[in-house]
């Protein structure tokens, strides 16, 4: 399963979410499908995309928030699963693209390549719903189920360790950040 195909399969539905991605391939691939003002790409600070999504979800309980995380990033901030589970916002979906690799630094294998089970960790941390998917169809279904469940869900999507040739986009970090905040403020007024 390719991460890009997963993202493409749900791209139209992302209109309904505030989207936070990690750096590297996830950001570049989502951006390649077409940037929207409700997308924020956290191009560094590995591990903090889930924390950002948690902050957004708790502050905006009437909005749906989705985080596109990765195995390398999540492994740097496993404690975030326990904090998310503790406050378990119903409007947050936490997707982890698990390619068992730190792809953007040359493919260093992560612990998930050696048996670490992120779904199991999420579940044991107390995340109410945790699933692993291995096909695009199941990914789509898992996201739809998460939205309908009205419960904090972590979806581990096992994907191949391939990505785009480069990661730099034409969207400056600050432009993205100010546009994202302005977009959220405009939603609050409407």
């Amino acid at each position: 399963m390719l991460r890009l195909d997963c993202l493409r399969s749900v791209y139209s539905e992302l209109e309904n979410y505030l989207v936070v991605t990690i750096m590297g391939a996830v950001a570049a691939e989502l951006h390649s499908l077409g940037h929207r003002p409700n997308f924020f790409y956290l191009q560094h600070a590995m591990g903090l995309a889930s924390s950002t999504g948690l902050g957004l979800a708790l502050c905006l309980p009437e909005r749906s928030v989705i985080v596109f995380d990765g195995d390398g990033s999540l492994l740097m901030n496993l404690g975030s699963l326990t904090t998310m589970a503790r406050y378990r916002p119903r409007n947050l979906v936490h997707v982890v693209f698990d390619n068992e690799s730190l792809l953007s630094v040359g493919g260093f294998p992560t612990a998930t390549s050696a048996g670490t089970d992120l779904e199991g960790i999420a579940r044991a941390a107390g995340i109410p719903r945790a699933v692993t998917v291995r096909s695009v169809e199941n990914f789509r279904t898992a996201l739809a189920d998460a939205a309908h469940s009205n419960e904090l869900t972590t979806i581990i999507a096992k994907v191949e360790a391939t990505g785009p040739s480069g990661y730099i986009t034409d969207l400056s970090l600050l432009e993205n950040r100010f546009q994202f905040r302005r977009h959220i403020q405009s939603l609050k007024k409407s």
Binding site: L48, S51, T52, G55, C59, L60, G79, S80, R177, R181
Partner: protein, 170 residues
Amino acid sequence: MPVSLTNSKLIYETLKECDIRLVSALPETWLVHLIRLTDEDPEMTLLRLAKEEEAVGISAGAHFAGIKSAMLMQNHGFMASINGIVSFAHLYKIPLLMLISYRGTFGERDPWQTQGGNATEPLLRALGIPYFFLDQVEAVKKRIRHAQTLAESSLQPVAVLLTRDLMWEE
């Protein structure tokens, strides 16, 4: 416990007056009253963290959502947050109001706090983080308010160091 309840209340009232509605915290002795006051206030959201760096992401999310937040942590927690501060808050110009208990300086009895005491101010200076001390009761309100004003106007992390003189009664 000789942590000052009076001064903790004063700090807490100021946070409320500054329109802070979300506080991320990790427990530390000097912060017990502040964390409890936050927890007991229905108008305030308290997030108890596993590690202080999470607070950088949470406060960024709150900022995007238009909610003012504060971070309560020990100076060792500040040190544990530095990558987040640099590669999120500085990189993306995110305002952070960091209230940091300044352990390990003059008067510290716990040997394990002392190295962090030495490193705190040099690190704040190296990172270019504006900071000042909260050491006098009469300056508490003004200094916290001014710290928040600067964080919001400059879109950067600002640190307020909570000192033994203010937080501890013996």
